[in-house]
């Protein structure tokens, strides 16, 4: 066959998603990657906290629940686009 598909664009390097809906390229994102290399666990210096340290962290981090609102104003709901 004298002709060949162009390697521009889609080409052979792109692989089809294996996700349920074929819907996202997140598999290539650093933290969502599915490559074998991404399974390797590099050495990390993980500190094991003492009970006193943990108490101090929790005391600092949980003084009050952050306010969270999902209410949408009626002005927004009436906005025309």
């Amino acid at each position: 066959m004298p002709v060949s598909a162009s390697s521009r664009g889609k080409g052979k390097t792109r692989s089809r998603s294996i996700s349920a809906a074929g819907r996202s390229e997140h598999e290539r994102e650093a933290l969502w990657s599915h490559s074998p290399e991404s399974r390797e666990q590099p050495p990390l210096a993980v500190h094991q906290p003492s009970a006193t340290e943990i108490k101090a962290i929790l005391k600092k981090k949980r003084p009050a629940r952050r306010e969270f609102h999902t209410n949408v104003s009626s002005a927004t709901m009436s906005k025309r686009v």
Binding site: V3, A21, E29, L44, Q48, P49, K61, T76, S78, V81
Partner: protein, 518 residues
């Protein structure tokens, strides 16, 4: 014989005088699409002279059929192929003949060169109907572009041609639709909603938006929708609307805008951006974000954490004023102003035909003021809440472990997490994967159909997946279980749990030793 010629499936050279796009009125959308297809390397165009398009037939039935202009109900469908430059239209025609005759090789050549299709409607003021084109080449290998796309398959003379990732776009036909109709229509095409969801036509969307009462206003021509009418259409499609307002008086901060868009798009949910053009604050506009360029992994100081999606620089948008997959840069003047989106084409471009003026150069920036999306009905969680609890958990783990921790979030079906996701992240040897799957499936609490997932990492080392229940109220996001990828992190989580921190109370180990549920 003449009639037979007129109906013939035929190839023509791309951008030649016979190319149907070249013959259309010179609009910004036509210029954008021609440039886009040039970028995809399109070399020849296959014309299907007669095509009955579902969306156009609905528009025709709702409006055009009663026009004195005697519009036709038949469209053209044109397909774009990027074959080598030495394959002209007649060689492509020979390939098609061979493929139609059942030969595999010419068919596979055409399929591998296939870049998409466009319906050309017989209405001069808005000729570009349903258009599905491939994403243009992702030049940057890292970080990648992330899109809420799906597969489209169309058939020409019984031959299937597929676009593996795309999302349909069309030009606004003012008779039956507004920008909101087209953006909604694009969003509802997303495959995140699965094969069991009905995708309405643009005419049906307009009718659905006013089902509650058009208050004496004529439906067609359409004058646009209110936000509550958009939510109503989403609900009628058996999906759940989420509306997120800006956190500034004039719109969004970069952090809220970028993190929310990234979480939703990564989850397969396109996001409607409601707002206005920068210098026209009185007239609203609605566009659909279909992708974003992922942010680079940050190097963080020990003991600190961040949700690094707030650093994304670009979103990709279907804008009925421009075209599909338009790249917009996220600008906020270092936090001084609200987020605005400026069209920003990638720099590396081939030479365009001389008659093609830049379609986006003078286009105004867009200022988003609300985000609207449609999620599965059973999913009651809000992306703002997911990001808030993920940040909080990452901060605590960072402080306890003295690591710099980057967090990222998404929603996903439980089956996908237990299936392809952990198969891609956990070493399948030594039965770790099998034990993890059983531990998660047999845990005390059965998990919901959709999960909120927060992934915590230090550099490239995965530390922890926190799996959240998405069926509670929007402001409550309970943890089902957390999956620890390292033994040292399991131990830190265990210490935190013993001190009364519930987010770390149920840890499943996904590392070498046998997984156990505490």
């Amino acid at each position: 014989v003449r009639s037979k010629d007129r109906n013939r499936l035929r190839f023509v050279e791309f951008s030649s005088e016979n190319d149907p796009l070249v013959r259309l009125p010179d609009t910004r959308q036509v210029r954008y699409l021609r440039r886009y297809l040039t970028d995809l390397g399109s070399s020849v165009v296959l014309i299907e002279p007669r095509y009955f398009d579902r969306d156009y037939l609905a528009e025709f039935s709702a409006y055009h059929s009663r026009s004195a202009r005697a519009y036709s109900n038949v469209c053209q469908r044109v397909h774009f192929f990027a074959l080598d430059r030495d394959v002209d239209a007649s060689a492509a025609q020979a390939l098609l003949e061979g493929a139609c005759d059942g030969h595999t090789e010419p068919y596979e050549l055409l399929q591998s060169a296939y870049r998409g299709f466009c319906i050309v409607r017989p209405i001069a003021q808005a000729s570009l109907g349903r258009t599905v084109v491939a994403w243009y080449p992702d030049d940057e290998t890292r970080p990648p572009r992330v899109t809420a796309s799906r597969e489209y398959v169309c058939h020409v003379a019984g031959l299937p041609f597929a676009i593996d990732r795309g999302l349909a776009w069309q030009q606004q036909d003012e008779a039956v639709s507004a920008c909101a109709t087209v953006a909604l229509w694009t969003m509802l095409q997303s495959s995140a909603f699965g094969p069991h969801h009905w995708i309405p036509t643009t005419a049906e969307i307009t009718q659905m938006a006013h089902r509650g009462g058009a208050a004496g206003v004529r439906l067609f021509p359409s004058a646009g929708f209110r936000v509550r009418e958009i939510c109503d259409v989403i609900s009628q499609c058996r999906l759940a609307p989420i509306v997120i307002e800006g956190d500034r008086d004039d719109g969004f901060t970069r952090a809220r805008f970028a993190k929310t868009c990234a979480t939703l798009i990564r989850s397969g949910y396109p996001v409607l951006l409601s707002g206005h053009l920068e210098h026209s604050s009185q007239s609203g506009h609605l566009i659909c974000a279909t992708g974003f360029r992922a942010a680079a992994l940050p190097q963080l100081e020990p003991g600190t954490a961040m949700l690094f999606d707030e650093s994304i620089a670009y979103v990709y948008v279907h804008d009925d004023n421009l075209g599909p997959n338009v790249r917009f840069e996220i600008l906020d003047d270092d936090g001084v102003s609200a987020v605005r989106l400026k069209p920003s084409a990638p720099t590396r471009r081939p030479r365009y035909p001389a008659d093609l003026k830049d379609p986006v150069g003078e286009y105004e920036s867009f200022v988003p003021t609300e985000l609207i999306t449609a999620v599965h009905e059973d999913m009651r969680a809000n992306p703002l809440k997911l990001n808030e609890v993920a940040t909080s958990t990452a901060e605590i783990l960072a402080e306890a472990s003295h690591l710099g921790i980057a967090a990222t979030t998404r929603f996903m079906p439980l089956a996908e997490y237990l299936g392809s996701e952990i198969a891609g992240t956990v070493d399948p040897h030594q039965k770790t994967l099998a034990k993890l799957r059983r531990a998660l499936t047999e845990a005390d609490q059965a998990m919901s159909l959709h999960l909120g997932v927060a992934r915590l990492a230090s550099g490239r080392a995965r530390l922890l997946d926190v799996l959240y229940d998405t069926t509670g109220t929007a402001s409550q996001l309970a943890v089902f279980v957390s999956v620890a990828y390292r033994e040292d992190i399991s131990r830190v989580c265990g210490s935190l749990a013993e001190s009364g921190y519930p987010e770390f109370a149920s840890i499943v180990a996904a590392h070498g030793r046998a997984p156990r549920v505490r």
